[in-house]
């Protein structure tokens, strides 16, 4: 069993909201999302829905206007920059629209192992030189000459295996797509082998446009002529125009939406018969029922010559069956994105637009607004008197320290609540020894060295080491200037699967005696955190300005899921 690191996940309030139901002005007031009936409802971190709302604090953003946390699922995103992850070149929005979301320079991934491909001269040395070095060499004219191939430095695949060579080391994408569109026309792969079982295949005779792109283009032009023939005054037929702007199309759409009123008013136009594409020139792609070429291909290439499911899935176009059908994969572009609050549309995070710049113009992360929670065993593993394994022994009480660290410059009052037993089949008992406490404010000067120096002199710091201390109920275990540790006691349940005693059963309750499910042996505690602090007046914005002098009380509440540890199976 793998080692286990305790975790604290925060539930994003978006789990409760139904899309569209959030009122814009209601959201701008400081709200705790828990209405009275929410308090009644328990939160089960194991329910399948919870998976989509629990996040580590690092993943959460914080909206200063709505005073609540936001997760990456509920924020709205806007693309700032598109770039290729391999050459790190920025790609313009317009070229993405025309060329697609892939790098159009020379960045490719290996179709066999998805490793990066580099451009090499066929006559070059095998040790992979950098493409940049190659092109530099090329400029001096004494460097290696073509033909050029794409090579994978990881699995040693190269493009000559599928018969692809390039004339120039630059602009491979354009060269490849040119090769590719012309490829299937003239390519007759499994026909020329000397095996006795090959038949001349239809593929060559027809000269069908092979690639999806080419087929799409011919289908499009065919149907465009069909439609313009049918309705010549609709002005169809120009490229990239589907005719929605034309008056004829508009009336057609109007008739769709307004029921029969329009069409009944007008006499029905005589239906012209539209013919479907029926030749390969028009883009028809007949199913290949003749499998002889495939069979002979299998016979000659064997199992190793076929493409795996995973390899086929990452191909740009579908239909590859043999390793020789696999083409280099142009890199998919990546993005830099701005994130906005879903309700008030304020920007929560905004990166610098340039690819090479790793700074952020704005980054409202939850870690700067709400206390972080760290979990560790009170007595560390291996310490004298402590547990010997990382697994929890069933029915043996174990204590954990929850440390809350305050990032804001105000004192926070924290109230915690947990159910007495954890939800799920294996109910462990949970006791919070100190459910209410205050965390001191973070200091103004954020000099880490200073803070660390002060820490040892801190008068509040009462205990330096944890051994030999008695755990007292209702008291903080330890505290510092801006952090507090409290003890939570857990009595792990046994994870033996056995029927419940009849006396404890509710009416009609059925035992769930299925085998142990994934991660069901983890003790996960739902914990409700309620924060209360007083924001100074200058932080108060907008409408709440009326009582400027007094400090305003703020509160925030959310559920957390604390993963403590795994229960040992015996």
């Amino acid at each position: 069993m793998a080692s286990f690191t305790p975790y604290a996940y925060i539930q994003c309030p978006c789990v409760d909201s139904v899309p569209g139901s959030r009122s814009p002005d209601g959201a701008s007031t400081p709200t705790s999302h828990s209405s009275p009936e929410d308090d009644e409802r328990d939160f089960d971190p194991r329910s399948p829905r919870s998976n989509y709302s629990l996040y580590p604090i690092e993943y959460m953003l914080y909206c200063e206007d709505c005073h609540t946390v936001r997760c990456e699922r509920c924020v709205t995103e806007e693309v700032v920059t598109l770039y290729c992850p391999s050459c790190l070149f920025e790609v313009g929005n317009s070229s993405v629209k025309t060329e697609g979301n892939r790098c159009t320079r020379s960045c490719f991934q290996c179709p066999i192992c998805i490793g990066p491909l580099s451009v090499q001269s066929l006559e070059s040395t095998p040790a992979a030189p950098e493409p940049s070095l190659l092109s530099a060499d090329h400029a001096t004219a004494t460097g290696p000459a073509g033909p050029w191939i794409l090579c994978c430095s990881y699995c040693n695949w190269n493009s000559s295996e599928i018969g692809v060579k390039f004339d120039k080391p630059q602009g491979i994408f354009a060269q490849l797509s040119k090769l590719r569109s012309g490829y299937d026309n003239h390519h007759s792969r499994y026909t020329s082998s000397g095996d006795g079982d090959t038949y001349p295949t239809k593929r060559d005779a027809d000269g069908e446009p092979g690639s999806t792109k080419a087929r799409f283009a011919s289908l499009k032009s065919f149907y465009q002529t069909q439609m313009s023939n049918e309705n010549p005054n609709s002005g169809l037929g120009s490229t990239m125009d589907y005719g929605y702007g034309s008056p004829g199309a508009l009336s057609r759409i109007m008739s769709l939406y307004s029921g029969n009123t329009l069409s009944s008013a007008k006499p029905k136009s005589k239906p012209t018969i539209m013919r479907e594409a029926d030749t390969t020139k028009e883009g028809l792609f007949p199913a290949k029922l003749d499998d002889t070429s495939v069979m002979s291909g299998l016979r000659s290439a064997g199992y190793d010559g076929t493409a795996t499911r995973a390899q086929v899935n990452v191909q740009v176009e579908e239909g590859a069956r043999f390793a020789t059908d696999l083409w280099p994969i142009p890199y998919v572009l990546r993005t830099k994105r701005t994130k906005r609050c879903p309700s008030c549309r304020h920007i929560l995070s905004k990166p610098e637009a340039k690819v090479s710049n790793t700074r952020w113009r704005m980054r409202l992360i939850a870690g700067n607004y709400i206390p972080s929670i760290t979990i560790k065993p009170l007595i560390p593993v291996g310490a004298p008197g402590g547990p010997t394994t990382h697994l929890l022994t069933p029915v043996k009480p174990v204590q954990y320290l929850l440390t809350f660290k305050n990032p804001i410059f105000e004192t926070i009052k924290v109230t915690l609540a947990t159910p007495a037993v954890t939800p799920g089949r294996f109910a462990s008992k949970v006791t919070l020894l100190c459910p209410q406490f205050q965390i001191g404010a973070n200091s103004d000067d954020y000099n880490l060295d200073e803070v660390l120096k002060d820490r040892d002199k801190d008068p509040q710091r009462k205990r330096s080491d944890t051994t030999g201390q008695q755990v007292e109920a209702g008291k903080e275990w330890d505290s510092g200037r801006n952090w507090v540790s409290v003890v939570v006691e857990v009595v792990p349940s046994s994870i033996q699967i056995e029927p419940k005693p009849t006396i404890l059963k509710k009416l009609g309750e059925v035992d769930d005696l299925g085998p142990l499910r994934e991660d069901e042996d983890i003790v996960e505690i739902p914990i409700f955190v309620h924060l209360e602090w007083e924001a100074s007046a200058d932080q108060v914005t907008g409408k709440d300005r009326e009582d400027k002098e007094t400090k305003e009380k703020k509160e925030l509440a959310y559920w957390c899921a604390l993963g403590i540890g795994r229960i040992s199976p015996e």
Binding site: C113, T125, A127, Y154, C155, N156, N158, E161
Partner: protein, 195 residues
């Protein structure tokens, strides 16, 4: 640190077993801090390079390194295997073999074919037979006794394919050049191992 500034290297001694009887070819480059231990003979053929901290152990059988091989640092050629049976010899690598950083080749009739490239942190089990010009990518494991055909590439956690590049001659040339450079970079001290 003032004294260590003058030092060329900070290389603490490692406890090593008995000095192995060695047999070097001509122009062998072997770093001072390479470790050659064991009771059987260790043969290193001409123009091969042994990096610092490479460990060649002949306790479990004779070790033979072919010509123009490169054995990188922290490798363990002739490592003990889980079972105790000994072969006729320990490890035999043919010519132009590269064993990269941190790889382990277990002892016991283990043969590495000509021109094989063994990537970083690879484990080659006891008695495995690698054909000519195989490439074993980083962190792959070859099971004991496995026979790997010529030109095989082992990648991505044990997948296999056949290398169809046909670049053996170029590769050998490049390796010769690399050895040329390494000979100037690594301070060789074959005499230390000979006595």
């Amino acid at each position: 640190m003032s004294s260590s500034n003058k030092r060329q290297s900070v290389l603490p001694k490692v406890p090593s077993g008995p000095k192995a009887p060695v047999n070097f070819g001509s122009h062998v480059t072997i770093a001072d801090s390479a470790i050659l231990t064991g009771s059987h003979t260790i043969n290193i053929s001409s123009e091969s390079v042994i990096h610092p901290r490479a460990r060649l152990e002949s306790t479990y059988g004779r070790i033979t390194i072919g010509r123009r091989c490169i054995v990188h640092e922290r490798t363990h050629v002739g490592a003990p295997s889980s079972d105790d049976k000994r072969g006729d010899f320990g490890v035999l690598t043919e010519d132009y073999v590269v064993v990269e950083v941190g790889s382990i080749i277990e002892s016991g009739n283990t043969t590495i074919g000509e021109g094989c490239h063994i990537g970083p942190r690879v484990t080659i089990g006891k008695g495995a037979k690698l054909g000519k010009h195989c490439t074993i990518t980083a962190k792959s494991i070859i099971q004991p006794g496995e026979v790997v055909p010529d030109y095989t590439v082992v990648y991505s956690n044990g997948l296999r394919r056949t290398d169809k590049r046909g670049l053996e001659i170029l590769k050998a040339k490049a390796q010769a050049r690399q050895i040329e450079i390494l000979r100037r970079l690594i301070s060789s001290n074959p005499a230390k191992f000979k006595d």
